[in-house]
């Protein structure tokens, strides 16, 4: 999944074996999801879809994959195309270390390979109609993995657990002693420190952002996220946190917020009706969560 993973399970001493068995299953679940959806593994369904781009060959997909593709489709439509799982090919023309566009003509050529509307999804399966195009469901799968792990733990009778996959955190119940789980949101200036904490019971919080991967472009620090319409970096929020009852919804909303510019990101977040927080590069915040906490601006 490309990031740190932490699963905390609290059970009475007599049920330690249940906790151990559940964690083994969690590992198997994560490995299975990675095997199915990682574009770095040749046998994954995503890699198979990408390998057949432009060859008029459909790749069969199961109901789980169809549901994730349906979510991607909804996000693409509702974000006016800003969320686009086919945008990844454009990363080839940017050097994120130096902040340079490597090859402008290459960017223009690759633009033709970007576009979710060129993806055909039928009862036969999935087909990328443009040769050279690629899709990447990594962002959605990571959040889906967090929810799937949480669901798996509940099905095994675990009532107190905290699932943290990089910036996506799901709280199962409260802690065993009844106290809420306490989750920290990273300070963009000092990512190893938290700028504030959430007390969580049966909810998820996802943080999307580029504070660790920003670079200087034309005198401004911009995100590594690229606008699919232009191929250029998005001048958007440094860090967005969203709270929802599932990581998939929280993460999807947070991710799309980061694809908007500074002015439109709050509008998108308000449309969701979910609690949210935007942090700038100096750790200053805006949003309903910030307002409620009377955090410094």
């Amino acid at each position: 999944m490309g990031g740190p993973a932490s699963i905390t399970v609290q059970v009475p001493s007599a049920r330690r074996d249940v906790a151990t068995a559940s964690l083994v299953q969690v590992q198997q679940t994560l490995e299975a999801l990675e095997a199915r959806y990682s574009r770095y593994l040749a046998d994954s369904v995503v890699s198979q879809i990408n390998a057949r781009a432009g060859r008029e060959e459909f790749t069969e997909v199961d109901e789980e994959c169809r549901a994730l593709l349906a979510l991607a489709d909804t996000l693409w439509r509702d974000s006016d195309g800003l969320f686009d799982p086919t945008v990844g090919v454009l990363n080839r023309v940017w050097d994120f270390q130096t902040g340079h566009l490597v090859n402008l003509p290459a960017l223009e050529a690759l633009q033709h390979q970007v576009g979710w509307d060129s993806v055909e999804i039928t009862q036969e399966g999935v087909y990328l109609t443009v040769a050279g195009s690629e899709m990447d469901l990594g962002g959605l799968v990571k959040e889906y993995a967090a929810d799937t792990v949480a669901q798996s733990l509940k099905e095994q009778g675990i009532e107190s657990a905290l699932v943290a996959l990089a910036g996506d955190v799901v709280a199962v119940g409260s802690q065993a002693d009844g106290r809420p789980w306490r989750v920290g949101i990273s300070d963009p200036i000092n990512p190893n420190e938290s700028v504030f904490s959430l007390e969580m019971v049966d909810m998820a919080v996802c943080t999307s952002g580029s504070y660790a991967r920003r670079f200087e472009y034309e005198g401004k620090l911009v995100s590594h996220l690229l606008n699919p319409h232009t191929g250029y970096p998005v001048d958007g929020p440094v860090s967005v946190s969203v709270i929802a009852d599932t990581a998939l919804i929280a993460g999807a909303v947070a991710t799309v917020a980061c694809l908007h510019d500074h002015h439109k990101a709050p509008l998108w977040l308000n449309r969701s009706g979910l609690p949210w927080l935007i942090l700038d590069a100096q750790g200053h915040g805006v949003g309903p969560i910030h307002d409620k906490l009377n955090m410094p601006t």
Binding site: F196, I243, R271
Partner: protein
Amino acid sequence: MAVTKPSSDAMRLSGSSPLVRRLKQSVALLPAYAATATADAPPTYTEMGLRYSRYSEDSLADNQRLFGASDRYDINITQLWLEAPVGDNWSIAIDVQNDYQTGASPWFVGVQRDGQPGIIMSGASIQDNRVEVGVTTRYFWADGNAGLNITHSDEDDYEALSWSADMAWNSDDNARTWSASVSQSNDTVQPTQEKIPVFIDREDIDTQSAYFGVSQILSRTAIFRVGLSYTYSDGYLTDPYKLRDKRPSDHSRWAFTTGYRKHLVDMGATVQADYRFYSDDWGMDSHTLTLGWSQPLGRHTLKPYVRYYSQRAADFFDPVADFTADYYADDYRLSAFGALTVGLNLQVQLGDWVAEAQVERYRSNNNWGLYEGDAAPALVDFWRGTIGLTWRFE
């Protein structure tokens, strides 16, 4: 360091914005999200639509007609509707329909020289315009929804004001939904005397109805439903434009309905079957069986369907009415007959727009029915075509 509390306003998870509801619908079938799927919620978009239909009855054959025009009814129907979410728990819908009707209708049935019944038509073509406006408001909660509708319909010779209330509620596992509704309509008929005489000035009709039904999700790909309705009308139920027509002043009807939907995963299609049995205290029974196939074509959908209908005649129906009886009617709609409808519906998704086209052919014949009975000479055949455009936005 600032700390939020789970119970604080900032942490209150509404999750019911149209955007979030759309996202949840996308993944509702996955086990990890079944519990968070909102069983009942306002629409996720605002929808506005415009639809035009043309209904055209076949002309009468010369050997069926004794006198009068051969052209029957043509009706042009224009519908405009709007449905929108209001806040987190409400929706509102407005429907406006305009029918413009021209043509002639059977006035009465006489006897031709060869002894066969022949139709005397109503003479020159009538022109009638009807406008109907309905407003529905609906409230949604986690386990169900309830709606209230008020509709007013007005034309030259008929006015109707009706209201209805309905409710649907879901079981805890969302696998079963119970539905119930009641309605009341107060109508006034004031026939216009033009080419044919009429014998009433103004009369009233009151109708009440109730419905109760259950739908059950049988599996992830199949759903089944049953329902029962009762309708009672009293007032002037005779057709004022038919010379030989006298009907009871009350009318009780029952209808049993059932339906089945099955999604065929391998084909990506859905098969639909619906059946209705009707019975009333005028002696009429009917059966309706509809079979349909919904086939996705990329983002579009094609739906062919076929419908079979069979009706038993009303007790007081005769092809040539016996007006010495207490009640009598030669109206073909009360005769024994069978009918077959074949139709095709196409929906084309164009971004935020959906274009729709439908064509339907209806043929009826006394010999196609399941019940014995004398044939009415004026059984109708018709074509119906529809085009529509729907726009959804947030």
